[in-house]
Each structure stands twice: as C-alpha cells, then as structure tokens.
Amino acid sequence: MTVRIDQTKCIGSGQCVLAAPDVFDQSDSDGLGLVLIAEPPAELLPGVRDAVDRCPAQVVSLEE
C-alpha cells in the first residue's frame, strides 16, 4: 500500500496531519502536505483512509 499526495492541487489544509500525524506533515516552506511514511504499516492505515476521506482537495491517495 502506497500513500501519495498530488501537491499540484493541495491547499495546505493540514487535514491529513490531523487524521494521521505519523504519516503526514506540512512543509515548512509552503505549508503543503507531505508524506512521511510512503508505505505505512497496517496499524496506521485507518488514519490514512481517514485522511483520504477528509482531504478537502481530494489529493491524498492510497494505492495497492
């Protein structure tokens, strides 16, 4: 399972960070979403799915 953020449409809302703080961060230079752990362990996946749901710009994805 691979986590990605399409930064071209990210609005830097930080909803991914609230949903899964271990997996996501925001860049100090522009506030945009960053993936810290691209292949998160199973116990972090519920938070990642929550981030996929919550991202207002719909740019967080979790792929097989």
Partner: protein, 398 residues
C-alpha cells in the same frame, strides 16, 4: 423530467434557537429543491452528504457569487470578504494564488505552538468574567473579545498597536447595517495595518501572517490589507458565535456535557462532534455556487448557469455516520462538512478548532457548575446570512 416546485427560502423563523428555520427540513426531505431568495434569485438546495461534497469539490461549479442568492434585497451584504483580496469568490489558479501562501500561517504545527498564548488570552478573559461577578454575559466577556485578539496575534499586530486595532475592529464588526460606515471603519483599520506592514518590511520577518505576506508573496498592498481585514471578519463572528452555540448545546444536553466533564482531555474529538451536530442542526440553505455546465447531483440535472446552495443539514446524513441526528460526544471524529469541503474549505478551520478546544475545556473545568441564568428559549439571537448566534448568554457558576 418534471420541474421542481419553487418555495421561498425558509430563514429567520427557527422553531428552536438551535434548530433549522421553520419548514426547511420538510422542504428538503425529497432531495434537491429550488428555493426563491429575497433578492429574486432561484437556487437549488443540495443537502445530502455526498451531494454537498460533490458541489463543493467539482470544478464545474464556480464560487463567483456575482448576481447570486442573497438574504437582503438591497445587496448591502457586507459579510463577503472585501475586494480585491476576496479569495472566497475566486476559482482555480486565481484562488490558489491568494490562498496558498497563507496556509503556512495556519499549519497544524504552527497553531499547536500558539496554544500556550491562546490559553493565556482565554484565561485572562475568564479571570475578568469571574471578577465581574454573577451573572455574567459569556458573549461580551469571552466569545467576542477572544477571537479578535487571537487573530491580531496571528497577523502579527504588535502590542503597541493592539489597543487601537481592537477598538477599530470592534467598531467595524459591530456595523451590522450600513456598508458606508463599515467601509469607513475598514479604512481606519487599514491605516493601523499599514503601520504594521511598514514594520514588517523593515524587519524582514516572516514569523506571522502580515510578515509572511509582506516579505514572501507577490501580493499587492491593497490585496494584502484586504486579506488581513478579511481574515479578521471571517474569523471573528464565526468562532465567537460557535463557542456560544456549543455552550448552549451542552446546556441543553446535560448527559453529553457530563461526557466532556468526565474527560476534558478529549476536547479535540468533542469539538468535532459539536461542529458536526450544532452546524448540522442549524441547517438552512448556505454556501452558494453556480454551475458552469450541466451537472447531475442527487438525481437531478443542474443546468449550466443555475445557482446551487448547499445545506449544512448534510452533517446529519446517515451516510456520514450512524445515528447522525444525535449528539454523541463519545463518537470518533468524522469528516463532517462544518467547515465546508473542496478548495474553499475554511482557511481558518485549524485555528477555530484550537480556539474552541481551549475555550470549552477552560470554561467547564474552571467553572464546573456553570449554567444559564435564564432559559435558553428566552435568550435573544442574532441572525445574518451566514452568521447566527446568541446576542447574550447570561451565566452563573457558583
């Protein structure tokens, strides 16, 4: 396809101060309907969870509100952020150009760093409320002053300008009628802010919002001043109204208030449920968009050029969570639509969250017996197009 019947948009007459305008829930019960607004514009109302997410995130809907539905006939609405820094009516790249550079100031980690300072501001206001004795008005002593002080802090308005900033902001925000008066006050506030801008230019600081805009964006001076004033307007009444409404919701649901008192450290999750439920219950036809092409939403075809409003009633949709029409403070945080969705989702959401968490936790831990001094049904409420709240909340705590 049959044309939907058009009913006047229900507003103002709420059967309960924490409920939707009378007739609203009935009107939307069979899917999207068209409603007629006081300025003569017709607009669809979409109120399902999936439908609202679609309208607010689909680029075939524009946020340009020119000629759109308005509560007031004379178009004197002042709540839209002032031009030309009004990102709320822009689409695509034009919108991102204004919004993106600001997101750094609202980063989750930045706001977490601000928590001690916000707590200090909140404590000072509760101290003063307590010194003033019972009964006290929660609205004038805490709800109103705290958010504007916090925004001054975020903008980087230094201590030496804060008294003037506060006084002018208060006068400006108090102008509920005349556009001319409002604009005069906004201009005065612009003068205070222009001084702050000069200081940031000299220091080169990017540690606060004004510094960031001055030293690290291509914003023009007029855009920058209007963005700063716009943030003050957008972040002031919303946060103060909702702190009051959350408190009233808890007073009306003592079993749920007990959940907060039992474990105030869960204030973050509790604030999400209060946002979902309180905003959902208030319902009504809200944020407007305009279709640029024909779009299918919730089984109806919205034609190019049609206006659409979304209802926060979507927060009570079972698609979002089980027993969605009930307040359940033990629920996990769900992706509610209280701050909207899509590229225009509230820029200040994370700030509002931190403020509301600190305010609620502090109120109910410092004053565990706090309660309304008069029945909620007898309190006066103020209704505006997008802001609604209690005019005063008299409380006692001993």
């Amino acid at each position: 396809m049959t044309e939907a019947a058009v009913c006047p948009v229900p507003h103002e007459n709420r059967t309960h101060p924490l409920g939707a305008p009378a007739g609203f829930e009935e009107a939307i019960s069979n899917g999207p309907v068209k409603m007629l607004w006081p300025n003569g514009v017709e607009a669809w109302v979409v109120s399902s969870y999936a439908g609202v997410r679609q309208v607010l995130s689909d680029r075939r809907f524009s946020a340009n509100k020119e000629g759109g539905p308005e509560m007031r006939t004379e178009g004197e609405q002042i709540l839209g952020l002032p031009q030309p820094g009004n990102m709320n009516v822009m689409d695509g790249d034009e919108h991102l150009r204004l919004r993106r550079p600001l997101s750094r100031a609202f980063m989750v980690k930045r706001l977490n760093e601000m928590r001690p300072r916000i707590q200090e501001i909140v404590d000072q206001h509760f101290d003063e409320m307590e010194r003033g004795g019972e009964p006290a008005d929660l609205v004038s002593s805490v709800c109103l002053p705290v958010p504007s002080l916090v925004i001054a802090e975020l903008l980087g308005v230094g201590a030496e300008h804060q008294a003037l900033f506060q006084a002018t902001a208060r006068e400006m925000l108090g102008k509920n009628g005349s556009k001319a008066e409002y604009e005069a006050k906004a201009a005065e506030l612009g003068e205070v802010l222009a001084k702050v801008v000069d200081e940031k230019k000299a220091s080169g600081s990017t540690d606060d919002l004004i510094g960031l805009m001055v030293n690290d964006t291509d914003f023009e001076m007029d855009e920058l001043l209007m963005l700063a004033i716009g943030l003050l307007v957008a972040g002031h009444e919303t946060t103060s109204n909702f702190f009051g409404l959350f408190t009233l919701t808890l007073f009306e649901n003592p079993d749920q208030l007990a959940v907060l008192k039992r474990d105030p450290s869960r204030a973050d999750v509790i604030v999400e449920e209060l946002l979902r439920y309180t905003i959902g219950k208030l319902g009504g036809a809200g944020i407007a968009r305009r279709a640029l092409e024909d779009v299918e939403v919730d089984g109806v075809t919205i034609r190019a050029g049609d206006w659409v409003t979304v209802s926060s009633h979507a927060n009570l949709d079972e698609q979002l969570c089980p027993h969605a029409s009930e307040l359940d403070l033990e629920r996990r945080a769900v992706p509610h639509l209280g701050f909207g969705f899509g590229p225009h989702q509230c820029l200040g959401a994370n700030l509002a969250r931190v403020e509301l968490q600190i305010l609620l936790r502090t109120l109910f831990t410092r004053f565990p017996n706090v309660r309304p001094a008069i029945p909620v049904a007898e309190m006066a409420f103020r209704e505006d197009m997008i802001t609604y709240g209690a005019a005063a909340i008299p409380v006692v705590w001993s």
